[in-house]
Symmetry: C2
Subunit: 332 residues, 2 copies
Amino acid sequence: MKPTIYDIAKEAGVSGATVSKVLNNTGRISEKTRNLVLNIAEKLNYQPNLMASALNGKSIFTIGLIVPDLSNPFFALVARKIEDRGHELGYNLVICSSDYIRTKEEKYISLLLNKKVDGIILMSGFEDISLVKALVLQDVPFVVVGRDIPSLDVNVVSIDNFLGGYLATSHLIEQGHTNIGFVGLDVWSNRERYKGYIKALSENGINVCENTVYAKETSIISGRKITAKLFDSQQNLTAIFACNDLLAVGVLEEARAKGKEVPKDLSIVGFDDTVWAQTSYPKLTTIAQPTDKIGKKVMDLLVLQIEDKINRKQQIILKPELILRESTTRNK
Amino acid sequence: MKPTIYDIAKEAGVSGATVSKVLNNTGRISEKTRNLVLNIAEKLNYQPNLMASALNGKSIFTIGLIVPDLSNPFFALVARKIEDRGHELGYNLVICSSDYIRTKEEKYISLLLNKKVDGIILMSGFEDISLVKALVLQDVPFVVVGRDIPSLDVNVVSIDNFLGGYLATSHLIEQGHTNIGFVGLDVWSNRERYKGYIKALSENGINVCENTVYAKETSIISGRKITAKLFDSQQNLTAIFACNDLLAVGVLEEARAKGKEVPKDLSIVGFDDTVWAQTSYPKLTTIAQPTDKIGKKVMDLLVLQIEDKINRKQQIILKPELILRESTTRNK
DNA sequence: ATGAAAGCGCTAACAC
DNA sequence: GTGTTAGCGCTTTCAT
């Protein structure tokens, strides 16, 4: 069997309580006993049983992460950054993919709560804010990532999605485009990007195309379908802003299928700066999210709440950035 | 405070033990008490404390997954498949990225063991088999994914890597290529693929190029560098087999940089059939891994070992498949 | 500075 | 059928 504190205690000729104190650096113990206990613990290769201390209200050093879809490279990347920072701080990640489905979001939250995780990271859409509200009452540290919830005082780490949409669209406008389509998902972040898109258009006195259609899901197929619709309703489109790179690749493919050359006949701006932006042909001009910073900020904020029991909520909004590549060009 | 079984017991006017029995469907209890207890549990929104039952040697319904890199879309995809099957069976995943680094592999194994996970999935390379050997002694259910360990009697789910390499190379040979380069990582699976590559070559009486160089890591840059070296040492290369799609994209880019057209001047076969294979230009001919099946088999096998305490180890080897796309063509 | 004892929430003999 | 009791491994008063 694995050694317990009592095995150490017996060997050291002290009580279990003393061993516990040494191991936790609590109470007062003499240098002598401390060293003795530490040595024996080392010798026995003692590993604390986290379940037991968890029962006593201690931390279990595990954090729950709810993402829309782990197999989506963007989320996988952010998850990895969070994981890395977590490990630096001594925490593990339990990851759950929600597919933006409410019932799954709900199920996973309660699952994680059951497992007594120290905190939860909400990177799914959570269109149904009541789920988040419920979490507030539970008094479990958590932070919302990728979207803001202005109506709730909760921890948030997000990029300025509005700015992202604005940046993307402004770039297209600067290139001389006036007929710019929008492709996105019907989720909070994308709707914010849409507002930025609208803002850029109206600032430049450009008519907003009414036929904005949201894609069903993030996939090439979905991107293609939505683009086909756009092409149908607006013959003279010269540019499209897609709310994520994969959708942008869908746009790219549909354009190619329709005999349009990118960027000559159609300029495209993507979002996220995922691997797709760098490996598609042509490479995508896109809006980059500072994933490194996001991962670090999220974890730091969460651990701050967990360990220091700080109660003041924070909203951290990071800046997205335009990355120029080959999918946009001046409209002639 | 969250309700415990004693809260239920008090309200139902029975003992804690009885409640426990009802909740676990163990022992014998009358329909009446059973319903009473169940109703009260429901009313109180009782949630069992998994830590407490874990202390009693019960399952914690959590499984550890060690992958090389979660931000690599291929691993993210497999992780997602495993996650899905896990949730179907009632298990969560704690994910750790090892970067193929031995110390991390070791650290995460002991971390997961500390957390008393019910089982561990080893999807990292584990070049140092002693780590796996140590796990065997711990009597923790685990399964190795993506590589075989012929010298050890452990659970394995993997594809036939040798066959994969053979398939890829044979395809190239059929297309008339005789000067075929190899690009891969110095890890077990890739070395097996290399053997398959060699087999195909020698079966067809083709000289093996001696300058096989392994890439440092899975990245476009690494793929480009290695390809540049290959081009230098072998001027008349007409095809390259890359051990993963990202490396293949690197090959693609380097070829383009050197003014070679794909597939006209250089045919490329990738591996994994990740999103890259579908979004690169031209799209990659590649060897697909049955990720769905892998995820399911892994989880099923592991849970079988956990729940039924089955001790007979299983080695499940799945077949990879050649997917024809646009990056290979007949050599003229 | 150290130890005895109670208890975290639950399970599992064993009694009744 | 149901309750009593003794732990699981650890933390934490409270004595000493």
